[in-house]
């Protein structure tokens, strides 16, 4: 729903629900009678919410945790877990309100701070509040679903600065980033009053808002923080790719909630979104695997898993707009391009994007956002722009996110570095963050 220009969006809403709206569609959250709610849509959105939370914990936590050295695995898991907690509370505080209520072109209003006015009224009143962005489900469900997007996005960034950031600084950075970077971009792209939404930028489930955004923040952070101690000299192989493969698998499964859940309903569009997600992911996993097999001599577990994630990232913005065959193409492209980004570009440009947050999410997100403009199907999406025009609009969306995401992250990081310092001491880094920051270790 949320990724469509407003008019189209409203039209879709009107027909998505069994009970049609007679007159003008709402542009802000409204209170409706409980019988306006579709139990089927609600069931799917509750499920999707659970799936997307599972992407973060344990999915992403394990995906990253398996790639670091053994002495840092708990610290890496802890980052994701703590980010989920902090951003959940920020979402309640003001994040949801700033992102998904109408307001200025850049940020929403304060009306839903502390989830104020988000109600469910028991019998005999039998009313509840509903977001204007998803009219057939309770607003609580919409807010929860969007919460799971808000928590995973900053957690993705952590892959770039693995093994060297202070936990306290990380908490501050993520809190600031969530409110100052994620929330505004989400508003601009997904809320009808946001300017990129009005400009027609298509981002079905978060190619720009989630992936490019997190990727650019990752790039900023690995530049600001510098390389890991001993990078390039010491051995830093992933300590346990079993964890990484569990993580990649749960990301894949959970991503069905991410993409098909972004339909806001259990309908034909959700079905198509799930199908194209599967196609792109399988294609990208194989394209990375074969690219590696050909160029490095062996197909690797880390490679196929990374390829799958690259495919998931790239199909994200396109998932409600394209058919299965274009999805295969998007996947093939994303797999091989992200392979180059993670294995060559990084070493060429000499930043230490430790777990390739930028290489996979940034680059994959850009590939997906641009190809969305190429492959968008009028039949599926209802969007009638010419390919060139849509491509240019997409380019605009990408450019804004790339620039704002990088610049804002950079500034926030520099400020935190000035105030409390970003990086652990050399001794802590050498001993490993598990023991030095958290006083724990695994056997």
């Amino acid at each position: 729903m949320k990724k469509l220009p407003m008019l189209v969006s409203v039209a879709v809403l009107a027909c998505m629900s069994a009970a049609a709206w007679s007159d003008s569609a709402p542009t802000a959250p409204v209170v409706l009678s409980v019988d306006k709610i579709s139990a089927g849509d609600t069931a799917w959105m509750l499920t999707s919410t659970a799936l997307v939370l599972m992407m973060s914990i344990p999915g992403l936590a394990l995906f990253y945790g398996g790639m670091v050295r053994k002495k840092n695995v708990l610290a890496t898991l802890m980052q994701t877990f703590a980010i989920v907690c902090v951003v959940s509370l920020l979402w309640w505080l003001v994040g949801y309100s700033w992102a998904f209520t109408p307001g200025s072109k850049f940020v929403g209003g304060m009306s839903r701070a502390f989830f104020n006015g988000m109600t469910y009224m028991h019998d005999p009143i039998n009313k509840l509040s509903v977001s204007h962005l998803a009219l057939t489900i309770p607003e609580t469900v919409y807010a929860m679903f969007q919460l799971t997007f808000a928590v995973i996005t900053p957690a993705l960034i952590a892959g770039a600065f693995a093994d060297r950031m202070k936990f306290s600084a990380m908490l501050v950075f993520m809190a600031a980033w969530s409110l100052l970077v994620y929330v505004p971009i989400a508003h601009m792209v997904w809320e009808p009053s946001g300017w990129l939404n009005a400009a027609g930028v298509l981002d079905y489930a978060g190619g720009t808002v989630v992936h490019i955004n997190a990727g650019m923040a990752g790039l900023a952070s690995c530049i600001v923080l510098g390389k890991r101690l001993g990078y390039g000299r010491e051995r830093m192989p992933p300590h346990n790719l079993t964890l990484t493969l569990i993580g990649a698998s749960l990301l894949w499964v959970g991503w069905f909630g991410f993409n098909a859940g972004s339909a806001g309903a259990a309908d034909g569009r959700a079905g198509m979104a799930m199908l194209v997600t599967q196609m792109a992911t399988a294609a990208a996993a194989l394209s990375w695997m074969f690219a590696e097999w050909i160029s490095k001599g062996k197909p690797s577990v880390l490679g196929i898993a990374s390829g799958a994630v690259a495919g998931l990232v790239a199909i994200t913005p396109a998932s409600g707009f394209v058919g299965p065959t274009p999805a295969v193409v998007i996947g093939l492209a994303a797999g091989v391009i992200c392979f180059v980004a993670a294995t060559s570009l990084k070493h060429l440009l000499r930043y230490d994007d430790s777990l390739d947050a930028f290489g996979v999410h940034g680059i994959g997100g850009i590939v997906g956002a641009l190809l969305t403009g190429i492959f968008v199907s009028k039949e599926i999406s209802g969007v009638a722009n010419s390919m060139l025009m849509q491509f240019l609009i997409q380019l605009k969306g990408v450019a804004v996110t790339v620039i704002y995401g990088f610049a804002a992250s950079f500034i926030i990081l520099k400020l935190i570095d000035l105030c409390i310092g970003l990086r652990v001491t050399e001794e802590q880094e050498r001993e490993g963050l598990d023991i030095s920051l958290h006083g724990e270790s695994i056997e």
């Binding site: 192989p237 992933p238 490095k296 062996k298 690797s300 880390l302 490679g303 294995t343 060559s344 070493h347």
Partner: protein, 112 residues
């Protein structure tokens, strides 16, 4: 008494132990070690970063024996651990001044 230390390929461990048993050895102590030598390790590549794993996993077997048994035991090890390929390992022999069995306090030959 002597302490004989053998560094062997891990998959040969069971064979060596059987041979030692035949040679009259009652007990041994085994440690997993990493060997660096002529036998080369392998290469791992993770997202373009190559790591040469220079070591090869080896098993270190320590055996305390009476002087009389030394040659026989060394022979048994060599025979059973040999594949003829690089990396088969080494045998070291050290003088062992005292042995005590903790359970009984027995000493030297009686303690082995």
């Amino acid at each position: 008494m002597k302490l004989i230390t053998a560094i062997v390929k891990p998959f040969k461990l069971d064979e060596v132990r059987a041979a030692l048993s035949d040679a009259g050895v009652r007990g041994v102590t085994v440690t997993e070690v990493r060997g660096f030598g002529r036998q080369r390790g392998h290469t791992e590549i993770y997202r373009g970063a190559e790591y040469v794993v220079e070591f090869v996993p080896k098993s270190k077997i320590e055996i305390a024996v009476d002087d009389a048994l030394v040659d026989q035991v060394v022979e048994a090890i060599i025979k059973s651990a040999k594949t003829g390929k690089v990396g088969d390992g080494k045998v070291f022999v050290f003088e062992l001044e005292q042995v005590v069995r903790i359970r009984t306090g027995e000493r030297d030959s009686n303690a082995i």
